[in-house]
Symmetry: C2
Subunit: 399 residues, 2 copies
Amino acid sequence: MDWQQIFATRTTRMKASEIRELLKLLDQPDIISFAGGIPDPALFPAEAFQKALGDALTHNADAALQYSVSEGYGPLRDWIAAEMGRLDVPCTRDNILITSGSQQALDYLGKLMLSPGDTALVGWPTYLGALGAFNAYEPRYDKLDPETNRAAEDYAQAAAPGRVKFAYTSVDFANPTGRTLTGTMRERLLDLAEELDIAVIEDAAYQSLRYDGEALAPILAREIARKGDIDACRTLYCGSFSKTLAPGLRVGWVCGAQDVIQQMVLLKQAGDLHSSTLNQMAIAAVAEAQFDSHVARIRAAYRTRRDAMLAALEEHMPEGVTWTRPEGGMFIWLTLPQHMRGDELLARSLETERVAFVPGHAFFADGSGANTMRLSFSRTDADAIAQGIARLGRLISAA
Amino acid sequence: MDWQQIFATRTTRMKASEIRELLKLLDQPDIISFAGGIPDPALFPAEAFQKALGDALTHNADAALQYSVSEGYGPLRDWIAAEMGRLDVPCTRDNILITSGSQQALDYLGKLMLSPGDTALVGWPTYLGALGAFNAYEPRYDKLDPETNRAAEDYAQAAAPGRVKFAYTSVDFANPTGRTLTGTMRERLLDLAEELDIAVIEDAAYQSLRYDGEALAPILAREIARKGDIDACRTLYCGSFSKTLAPGLRVGWVCGAQDVIQQMVLLKQAGDLHSSTLNQMAIAAVAEAQFDSHVARIRAAYRTRRDAMLAALEEHMPEGVTWTRPEGGMFIWLTLPQHMRGDELLARSLETERVAFVPGHAFFADGSGANTMRLSFSRTDADAIAQGIARLGRLISAA
């Protein structure tokens, strides 16, 4: 049977993610992995989840195991709305949609806004999973660079005959670069969005994982400061519990204007009815009981690892290699000398040094960035980080 | 802000589901509801889930709370593959993709196959959630009627200049009609699919809920009998744990040719990475421990309710009203005299008789079927069924 003539045109743009394929390597015990970018399971609040799930099934099994509304579990949406308030985003549960992780938020935002041929503005590089989600809706991409923004007319012209629909950006300690948008860049991005009359997708998956420096107000908070009301805003904020509590439960959210949230509820209803009721209850209970103290604990652990990786890079990397110094998150971004290729280096590294990382070119919508790579420090202890970076430095020095 | 110029064209086809809106009524205690079509929570295996979740978090928390592969949890896919084998569908875990309920399977199958303007063949009426899922991919619909199939050329011609991509059908005790496709109809549907060279989506959400009569081999089993190998088949079977174990955990599956499953894994990866790891583990453990005995228990309970509803309809419905006599599932389909409208009747029923049901026209892709309605017997005990049908009979008799 020739499935190619049955499959929709969008499938030609959907390829296997190199990162997901790499995840399969993580189980080999002798590999030191800086790939992935997944939380350390030793830091999961497993006992708190066990209690929360037990409580839900003891006192509330009828609801916990039943169908529920597409918007999400009310008390969880209330908790998130309060948390958004602490980030200077005053809102109510009606501004919150629960999604199955922020990956689903990105999928639904692409589905909401992109018709084939529309343009999405994304960073060069940007989060690979965002490109994966958006690709299904067959957009064109243009390069968003908050440091050197082009004029709005340039973007609009490049998008013709389609239309620019949104700018997507990861604001804090971005995946893959570890970079944080400055306050000025956030304001400038808003200016550009106003001029183009487009939406802003603010990916804040790592927002809580700040290890030093001052927290910066989200783009959505800045827009509310300009306009006075979230329901007048064009920014859609995507949050996640995957980096703070646990990814395996698949709970994230979108926060934005009610008009958009209501339309997204319809997408959610048509897409999977709702996210797991039981998991939403468990997340709500654990967040209520210990979000701040738990996040403080994992911040301390990841800070140590970031410091270990930065120190090891300083010690072992040869001249000509540069890297970012993230104030939080899980990633450091390496730029190699122009003649080196991350993918070739990975193949050699797995063979001889047994160190894994992600070659950077996959994060570029145009396939550039061959001489870059992403290192994650989240799932490796400080000793292994030192050893792994030493091996990697040896490999790069010899390349 | 004018969101209409930002939203994709597909959003014009995505409207609020009347059924989901009706669900909000179910909480009013004096309403007897035959709407919904959701399981009775008194029949959930809550203790078994509590044990399974406790076990997963005691012995396997690192995996249960972590990211996992997009294909789904291996042991659950093995269990499902064995279960499919019992239905004469020999296959392996590589033929199984775990989805977040079968609603997500329908969404991803639409996403996989439909480009705007392609045609999907669906029943008149058909499952509302399937239309909701497919609508996002902007197809045209043509009427599938396994009793009076038109010639393949007719379908192909009507689809031009697009292409027919698949036929969607609910095989056993369908939502909304309660009807089951006979063996002959299943074979004929396969013949049509062969002639048109299209896929078949076999929605088997209610397959396990048979109360009497002989089980019929799924369409996929019949195609394997013809071709000898699932990987040569065009039928994609959608199963669900929502009607047997619990819907709140959102676990379903697609079973089909590896070529299709592999492409769907990419959609899943881009869509939400994977379904909840913890929930998949819990479903696997509960299914392993007591699927057959639990399903036997709920079958007995629902059978009593179906019998109560059929008896009450016989007693209370005036002449000119007809209904289906399902061998399983959760639904009976009523056809009213031509001049009556289900939606008007519902408005009056909620006002005076306090009985809820779903007007039938929403289940028709062309909006016809005004004089039909869907009654669910799954969530109401036999006494309340008798009382509710008596009230409904009174209302219809007076109309």
